[in-house]
Amino acid sequence: MTETTITDFSSKGYLNMQLLRFTTAGSVDDGKSTLIGRLLYDSKSLFEDQLDAVKRASVQKGSEHLNLALFTDGLRAEREQGITIDVAYRYFATPNRKFIIADTPGHIQYTRNMVTGASTANAAIILIDARNGVIEQTYRHAYIAYLLGIPHIVVCINKMDLLDYRQDVFEKIKADFNAFVAKVLPGEDLRFIPISALKGDNVVKPSQKMDWYKESTLLETLETIPIDKDHDMVHQRFPVQYIIRPETDKYHDYRGYAGRIAGGILHPGDEVIVFPAGIKTKIQQIDTFNGPLDEAFPPMSVTILLNDDIDISRGDLIAGAGDLPKTGSDIDLMVCWMNPRPMQLNGKYALKHNTRDVRCVIDKIEFVLNINTLEEIPGRTSLAMNEIGRIHLHTTKPLFFDPYTVNRQTGSLILIDEATNETVAAGMIL
């Protein structure tokens, strides 16, 4: 890739750009911030005033070279502490793709941030310090990527410069990862890249020091990962978000169901069932501001008109008549607890699933997971912040759902503490 093409938006090529969201996982000091800084810097996504600010700050901190990590370490509190404290989002683009990076910290108490960043990601970059190889925490990072259903995993073995860019180091770590981690977390699109975030090898530019590595650089990989199958294109799912009823003479009888398609490809004429009513009807029209569509697919926001006049409200689900979702009030799920106030067995919470609001009670904690060893610990009555466990809950009204592994939209939910209104858990339905 030449330097000129990377910022070349002058053609109308951008009309065909795709969007890729990725997250980074790694332990403290593995080089996450440096890597993101390097990606932004080498892809010419940084501006002069940003560069100047970082140069000034680098000098102030007594750093010998440009401290790339400073580009991402945003808020004042964390600049003072020198660590990343929350999820921060970064943006850059090449002529092929626009990228959204969820920059999440690696310290143990921040599992919740990693889960947050992973929830919307197409790809995860798992960083391993070449000097340490696969360590306990590598399991945690891989597990979270797996649990959150991230379709593509890129393992970057970083700091290769400190080990003379040796191929045997890379091969050993790759073999260890395949033998121990990939074995327990199967089914992913998995790649390995040896890099030096600090020196820039194989991040944007191919390394001069590792000619034994013949595959793509990290950026090339991110630019070419196929993402068209990342959404569930099979099961037709349309959670009703908002009812559009214009109060004008022209649209007197218009009653549109607005929402974002969560699964499947929809067409006018398709037979659907509306939940919870259980009534069968057909899609009359898929409406948009730019006119009706012949087909629509995830993650498009559209407005659906139905053949029959049915009483439908926000929180209902329109699903393809051929492949119905599961329905019920008894839900098995994995949760990550995100609040300092622990989850209590028999505790009651508000629950948000797609556009549906219900209440629930936690009636069983099957086990808590030691996410560094993946060992299941039974017999617990609470779940603390940053813990992940398998639970069972009962809802006041039924949900219409799919397993998370089938559909990340209709399989996910959050719990809310009704006393504080805080979001306290992320749930992945089994």
Binding site: D8, F9, L75, Y91, S119, D228, P299, A426
Partner: protein, 301 residues
């Protein structure tokens, strides 16, 4: 095989549409903060699309510093009429007259900071429970951590260290009496996305964004517009140059760039080649490196 990928602009649009519909569904009295700048003009366009064929189900709120570019106000009034929208104006001048705020003095005086009080007063007066803003995470470091649904306490304050986690696209807008939310539907858009989208959708902008001749002067690396209320140092000289705005806000803090771009394609080319961030031209951010974070905590946009 057919290609079922959305372009990045279509995906961003769909995401914004989803967020706007969530606001309409989850809140009783939402409002759209309309600055007159390109980001809020894009928000209005997105809102029209999201609720079509119904009209936009919330009013536009303009916090007026009184120090406006005339073109921006003319444009605002035209837009409100054309889209049959409802306009609410919160006046900084009124806040000054009522003694709610004290006008800054001196050469760098700006009403930009005073806006926060007027904004919070307006939110309280109309009992708005959600204020939709055009903030983007790429604009500034402190914004990079904003949520789509950003909780504000009963004093309108933001606590960046204690934010609700935001997972998938499930937005938690639950709040207590007196609290409100700031909502940022175009969080994930960059400046380039905005311009590309404006081109793709053929969205009308105020003429200020295109090249025009204007009396300007140079201060601390930024071109500022000459105006009756803009104090100038004796050493500063106004000259007539061809400029355009990269952002449009209160005159006192809107930096202008030297440019001959008179159409969207040229602006996009110019931005692709520009090596300074949009906010680099904002005089208000220069006060300190953490300026934005401090203002945001207090309730700024």
């Amino acid at each position: 095989m057919k290609d079922y990928n959305l372009t990045h602009l279509r995906e961003l649009e769909s995401e914004a549409s989803y967020v706007l519909r969530e606001v309409a569904a989850q809140f009783e009295r939402p409002a759209l903060l309309f600055s007159g700048g390109k980001d809020s003009i894009v928000l209005v366009h997105l809102s029209r699309k999201a609720f079509h064929p119904a009209s936009i189900p919330f009013p536009l709120v303009h916090i007026d510093t009184g120090h406006n570019f005339e073109e921006a106000i003319i444009f605002r009034n035209k837009l409100v009429k054309k889209f049959n929208a409802r306009l609410v104006v919160g006046s900084v001048q009124e806040s000054i007259d009522n003694g709610r705020v004290v006008e800054e003095k001196g050469i760098n005086a700006s009403r930009n900071v005073l806006q926060t009080v007027t904004l919070l007063d307006t939110i309280e007066k109309y009992k708005f429970d959600a204020a939709i803003g055009g903030g983007r995470r790429d604009e500034e470091k402190a914004r990079a951590k904003e949520r789509f649904f950003s909780h504000r306490d009963e004093f309108g304050q933001w606590d960046p260290k204690n934010q609700r986690p935001e997972l998938w696209n499930i937005f938690n807008g639950k709040k207590r009496m007196g609290e409100h939310f700031r909502v940022f539907p175009i969080s994930n858009w960059t400046e380039m996305d905005i311009w590309q989208y404006i081109l793709q959708e053929n969205i009308e902008l105020p003429s200020l964004y295109f090249t025009h001749e204007r009396e300007v002067f140079f201060r601390d690396g930024v071109w500022l517009a000459k105006a009756p209320f803009m104090a100038m140092k004796p050493t500063e000289k106004a000259e007539k140059l061809r400029v355009r705005c990269r952002t449009v806000g209160d005159i006192s803090c809107t930096g202008l760039v030297l440019s001959t771009a008179d159409n969207l394609e040229d602006i996009i080319r110019e931005i692709a080649a520009t090596r300074v961030t949009e906010r680099g031209g904002r005089y208000d951010d220069k006060r300190s490196e953490a300026a934005m974070e401090d203002r945001k905590k207090e309730g700024y946009f």
